[in-house]
């Protein structure tokens, strides 16, 4: 044997040793990298993904369950039967697909007390004990909207004469060729490594093939930002400027007892342009809390996106006076924000009520400690008539407003069995706080109210 031959064999075994260590390690890194590169887009709807968006129409609240990728499948849920018209318009080529669906019960297929209730759909009719209706569509109540390609779409949602437009991105099941190549390379690498380990030795062909697969996967991963995107689009750096909200009503002087439209216009604090990058958080584009200054009136609504940066909801309030509007929203790649506002309601409306409005049943919760202290957490237990179904993804919501309206908090609670909800919250300063608890009982949204005094 020549020296050169020995040297070559030594080099080969050294390379083998290196590969035995480096290839599995690089494979693990690659898998982690590919997993971490999953879409960061809040409205991305691909195969196996689901987005829930709740909106308050004049006739009531409708929750859309959007999923399936391409084609897009949309279910609608509502407390009362309502027909929902749906259209999906591509923002890439303008193609439109339309369908309509009857909204099923709010508790369809949702988790209640740890078990899954069956929203039994039989031959187009929905029966859940409280709602029975016939669907105009045969074979179920899921709207199917065709989406030929990946990319941005607008989902138009019509109920009665109101129309909302929800921006979403659809990710087709197949994905890009390079993504499949990368995934295939990782798969091949894994299979080769497992095969090598099981066989107890690494043949030259095995190591070579594993190296090639690792190289392909590494190249695809490194080039990912520069490759044609299918399921992801370029996303701006996190940390967007703050948004500002401008509240107005139509008519400008709404009358007590008469319907009016409340509009919140969102603008970017840095550019003044409409804010049209709202993330769906807690199953809505925005949560708007409307309360009368005295707290006697309370609504927690989810306005319709009627244009870029323009949210609108139809309301009616029973009494004149000052009303406060707190808009809770979140820009994509950014944190949540609370935008305060207000409007005045004038007397003289035909539907004006002389009776004091009731913002839900007044209850006495159990507080712990019994006398809350500013800056220290207080736990609130509120009795409910369960079992509860999640509303906006949570068993219970607590809205706490300082009496002057300068502060508002939205707290999520946990169910304590079927008969109580528990919330823990820190009240920041002494004073009187108005609080409302909301939960879904037997498919109906129930609101209860109470007040909390913080003396010091």
């Amino acid at each position: 044997m020549t020296d050169a031959g020995c040297e070559g064999r030594g080099l080969a075994s050294g390379v083998m040793r290196w590969i035995r260590v480096a290839v599995p390690a690089s494979g693990a890194v690659l898998v982690a990298g590919l997993l971490a590169a999953s879409p960061a887009w809040a409205h991305e709807v691909g195969a196996g993904q689901e987005v829930r968006v709740t909106q308050t129409f004049g006739s009531g609240e409708v929750t859309l369950v959007i999923g399936g990728g391409a084609p897009l499948r949309v279910d609608a849920r509502a407390a009362r039967p309502v027909r929902v018209r749906l259209s999906l318009r591509s923002l890439t080529d303008g193609s439109v697909s339309a369908d309509s669906v009857w909204a099923g019960s709010l508790t369809d297929g949702s988790v209640t007390d740890g078990s899954v209730t069956d929203g039994s759909v039989t031959d187009g009719s929905v029966t859940d004990g409280s709602v029975t209706m016939s669907s105009p569509r045969q074979g179920g109540q899921t709207a199917v909207l065709s989406a030929d390609h990946d990319g941005p779409y607008e989902l138009g949602v019509g109920v009665g004469d109101e129309v909302s437009v929800i921006p979403i991105r659809v990710a087709a099941a197949g994905g890009a060729w390079w993504a499949m190549l990368g995934d295939g390379a990782v798969l091949a690498l894994g299979l080769l490594l497992v095969g090598g380990v099981l066989a107890g030795r690494m043949s030259a062909a095995l190591v070579g093939a594993a190296s090639a697969a690792a190289a392909v996967a590494a190249v695809v991963m490194l080039l990912r930002p520069y490759l044609p995107s299918t399921s992801q689009r370029p996303v701006a750096d996190p940390g967007l400027p703050y948004a500002q909200g401008w509240v107005s009503t139509l008519p400008a002087r709404p009358a007590a007892g008469a319907a009016f439209t409340l509009t919140v216009r969102l603008t970017d604090g840095a550019t003044g342009r409409p804010v049209d990058d709202l993330a769906v958080h807690h199953e809505a584009l925005a949560h708007v809390v409307v309360t009368s200054q005295d707290g006697a009136f309370f609504r927690h609504v989810h306005p319709l996106r009627v244009a870029p940066g323009v949210l609108a909801v139809r309301l009616s309030v029973p009494r004149p006076g000052r009303y406060l509007v707190h808009t809770e929203m979140e820009r994509r790649q950014s944190g949540g924000q609370l935008l305060p506002g207000g409007f005045d309601v004038f007397g003289g409306g035909s539907g004006e009520s002389s009776a004091p409005p009731v913002s839900g049943e007044v209850v006495v919760p159990r507080l712990s400690p019994a006398v809350p202290v500013a800056g220290s957490p207080v736990t609130v237990d509120v009795a409910v008539r369960g079992p509860l179904a999640p509303w906006l993804g949570m068993p219970g919501h607590l809205i706490v407003r300082s009496e002057d309206g300068e502060q508002l908090a939205h707290v999520h609670g946990t169910a304590q069995g079927a008969s109580a909800l528990r919330f823990t919250f820190t009240l920041p300063r002494a004073g009187r706080y108005l609080a409302w608890v909301q939960c879904l009982e037997a498919g109906e949204l129930v609101t209860r109210s109470f007040t909390v005094e913080v003396e010091r």
Binding site: V15, M16, T92, G94, A204, V207, V216, A236, A270
Partner: protein, 120 residues
């Protein structure tokens, strides 16, 4: 396994990488976008070009915004370089990054703002 085999596989990997690089080279890509009245294709480059692919446009204006940086640039007019082809009269993007480009199209179907996201 010999050094030659290892080298051969390494060369193959380099070849694959080279092919992938060649396929993906070429800078910013064009972006298609459709409004309710017009559809456009935006071709980023030294001079941004907008091709109006649906509807007859008379004028196109471009306004670039970098959402992450929180700044907006003054709108840039375009010159019609051919039927449905509008080329920016000046630079549109001032730096690399993710931009939102508001394309204002005026023409037979009225005026429409179409916003596209462009990676420069």
């Amino acid at each position: 396994m010999t050094a030659t085999t290892v080298m051969r596989w390494a060369a193959l990997c380099l070849l694959v990488a080279g092919v992938l690089l060649a396929l993906t080279a070429g800078g910013s890509r064009s972006v298609q976008a459709a409004g309710t009245r017009y559809a456009v294709t935006v071709v980023p480059g030294e001079r941004v070009e907008v091709r109006v692919t649906s509807g007859v446009a008379r004028a196109v204006t471009l306004a670039a915004v970098m959402p992450g940086m929180g700044h907006a640039l003054p709108p840039v007019e375009t010159v019609e370089a051919g039927p449905g082809r509008f080329v920016a009269a000046g630079p549109v993007f001032t730096m690399d990054g993710v931009w939102e480009l508001v394309v204002t199209v005026s023409g037979q179907r009225g005026e429409e703002l179409i916003t596209v996201t462009v990676l420069v």
